[in-house]
Symmetry: D2
């Protein structure tokens, strides 16, 4: 009558901090790691037979043990090591998702957490399909005070928005990019991709957030040859010009209301012309 469809299970949000100690300046690897496994798991669903279920507690232990053993490793390499480890026997696919929080060093042993630098990685390893790596950035809020227009859009019976030739454009960047292989200088590639996102946002004279999105994705691909695909989700963090005329004041693009909800949400993918099929990368 019924059958089991796609499924996976794992331990979410293992919060492990690895201190790599160095008298000249410690290194912090502050991570939130989520693992998901799939494979021959029919019996646990239908009969409660756990013989193939590597316990999520064991997954957590493994994340912690690897964090200690592997030390100062880039998150992508850490994820590859974990995902490869988990695929064995009935477990045929593993996904490891990592958020790494940035810290600024204040002294050899002192740090201040940055709130603007969450680096992400998503590694999928499959017994047949091999390994794929997606990296990204979150918590990156950008704003241009000008050089943004929005006009020429269709007007139907429900359209009241005025056209504008000068507005604030602000967004919280959620970007992820897919690598062509696992033979990558992860830290350099991340830095270059992030810099490309900032440069594209800053330098694009924008007629729509979609145009800015496409520029951001294009620029990452141009800057990092190892990247073949970029996915972006850009909320339009609306800043509405406040009408001060009732108070006899002129508001020449000076005072804005930063709205919470609703917000525009622009999602899109930019691909290199020769991007290989994504396969399991975004699983």
């Amino acid at each position: 009558m019924v059958r089991l469809g796609p499924n996976r299970y794992g331990k979410a949000e293992t919060r492990v901090v690895r201190v790599v100690r160095d008298p000249d300046g410690d290194v912090l690897r502050d991570r939130n790691v989520s693992t998901s496994l799939s494979g021959d798991l029919e019996a646990v669903h239908t009969d409660g037979d756990n013989a193939h279920v590597l316990a999520t507690d064991t997954q957590k232990n493994t994340v912690n043990a690897f964090a200690q053993r592997l030390g100062d490793l880039e998150p992508e390499a850490f994820g590859i090591a974990l995902a490869t480890h988990f695929v064995a026997g009935p477990i045929t696919r593993a996904r490891v998702a990592i958020a790494e929080y940035g810290w600024t060093r204040l002294g050899p042993h002192s740090f201040q957490r940055r709130g603007d630098a969450t680096r992400t990685a998503r590694i999928v390893h499959d017994a047949d399909a091999g390994t794929s790596v997606v990296a990204g950035v979150a918590d990156l809020v950008l704003l241009n005070t000008t050089n943004s227009e929005f006009w020429g859009f269709p007007r139907d019976e429900y359209t009241t928005l005025a056209e504008t030739r000068d507005r604030i454009l602000a967004t919280e960047v959620n970007a992820s990019w897919r690598y062509r292989s696992t033979d990558v200088d992860w830290a350099a590639a991340y830095d270059a991709a992030r810099a490309a996102l900032l440069a594209a946002f800053t330098e694009t004279y924008s007629y729509s957030l979609q145009q800015t999105l496409y520029a951001m994705g294009s620029r990452v691909i141009a800057a990092v040859p190892d990247v073949c695909e970029v996915r972006l989700a850009l909320p339009n963090k609306h800043h509405f010009l406040i009408d001060l005329t009732p108070f006899g004041q002129v508001n020449e693009n000076e005072a804005y209301f930063a709205a919470d909800r609703p917000y525009g949400l622009i999602e899109g993918t930019v691909l290199a012309d020769d991007a290989p099929d994504a396969g399991i990368a975004w699983d």
Copy 2:
């Protein structure tokens, strides 16, 4: 060198409350509505040409206008009306996602918000593929104090978890189910699906959360013939028995620590044997 891949855009989280007034007892339709459109949108990405871009502000206005005009409509029907409206000209697909918050009536005009009853709906309408409807429930936290075991799992070098024959099982249900058609008594189907989830959780003697998940999905399909697929994401909200032996106390499954992170996360799909292909339903 680069090309545009899949994309969509819209207005997220339009918070519209519709009061249907009745001297004997008003009705509240308290909704959070997100719309997403896709279609012939290449030019806006590459050239900033907005000629095909129905402004997200217009989408918001449309949501509001429909809310007033359509009155006391089930969220699925409301979403179908909206999605169908948006597909026109260059816009060839629309997705409408709705969260509807439950309220308890205290008097003819007075209400108390329930925190345990968020009803969801996700409607996709495509110019070619037609209309699909997914409904669901969120913010539903369930707990069994017993009738849950977990043992027989494999033990590798990283396994420390003890087997247990009696534990608390708790989860926050995130469930969505796909309907076979749009010819459904939405309110009755929702009530039946929700009741089936509660009954399956309550009545299943569980050897793993996967088993409970499968039972929940199966029961929804059995209870609601209009449903052909159920997707569940069940966090395992761990309750760890507290060791009180250092204080000379025996803790016979009485005092538990409710942990935040990490948590298990069990995701799975249950399908009717004759479920048609999902097509765009989960888009």
Copy 3:
């Protein structure tokens, strides 16, 4: 040059769940407990001398041990037991703050968490001043669809708000009430106070949220003679009537925008005429 002023320390948010087992229906006491101690703590601040510092880890252990030992106790009584225990030697004052989450029983061993019933308690015990008890409720969202007006307010150069004779009034009740003694039927008093808040909100024809606040506080005092003071913080959860005239629609108090920010915030205290001095109760 400098000196230490008021200080306290403790363990915040110990999440302990007590299951009181009964074949006919278990009882859940699901609590978030925060303890704070103060006393002769100068040395730890100035010299790092911990001789008087009952470790916050010990405080957590104590909360857990008491939860097991005391069983099905009202949160006020649980807090009194804890606070009294902690005051000893250099610790001369203890505050215990408790949030207790409500669950609905679905079967003898099955529960669904309510999202609308957080019961709070705040107990302060002082070596000299004795014990005081404040109880309260949180996460209680109420809405009247009518019977609310707002007019007659002063109009200055920055006033643009129109007067209204019919609006939605909605708030998330944050209420706390002080008891005259510790000789109270805590469960009955809580139920009566909560019912009084609901009744006052529902039955008050309101010309301002301040008036509703005063009615709510007054009604609690009238309903529960053991209560001598009520403190309320009521956000005005604005629901703005949506202008649909651009679309040729008339919106006769039917469709509203539920705004997030900014929001009104009304705070006030209602006292019984013979209320004794609050002393340390709100410490």
Copy 4:
């Protein structure tokens, strides 16, 4: 039978962004402003008479109008202007609380939001008592990887914590400091106070978080003569060393679990010896 006690009302969280335009580099003042008024407000509570109630909507308008008019002003000065304005007629006291979010400039018109730099100010103006100013910082997360011990604490029947001579010390600083007057270089004082907090945290070899708290407060007072009082709330963000011995690994202060709850919470006040009475400052 009942009487009105202390009360106030206002508009919370007006989100106003002021762009001060300059071809060489714009300035952003991104603020979240909450205003609260009190005074002769008996009638609105008891009779719903709004004649003395400056509408919270008017308060919001005033915040917005002042933001445009006053331009690139420090938050303390902005708050003083607002609070002084509001005190008139029946309104005898106004409190203005401001959170100002920091942004890093990326180009003349481009910005990236910092997540680690929320500057706060709290201004109270009273018709009789005059004006007081409190400033502060939030969202400042600090961590020392070493130079922290915790031992010598009392051991009672509920104590299980081991003494430690080397631990991670991490906290999210919530600090506020009171100024002696309103004749202060606000920006310079803020920078100096913030730098003092960082320096004290970094340079203090700590035997308890209380000791660190006292050092932080003392250092602010030493660094900024205009400050007479510092209040700190420091959660102890526990990082627990993970036991890897079951896996044959030695964890020499390398891998830690970053716990969410429960957490220690240390609160304290440091005062200059000659600090004047706080009066209404912390109202």
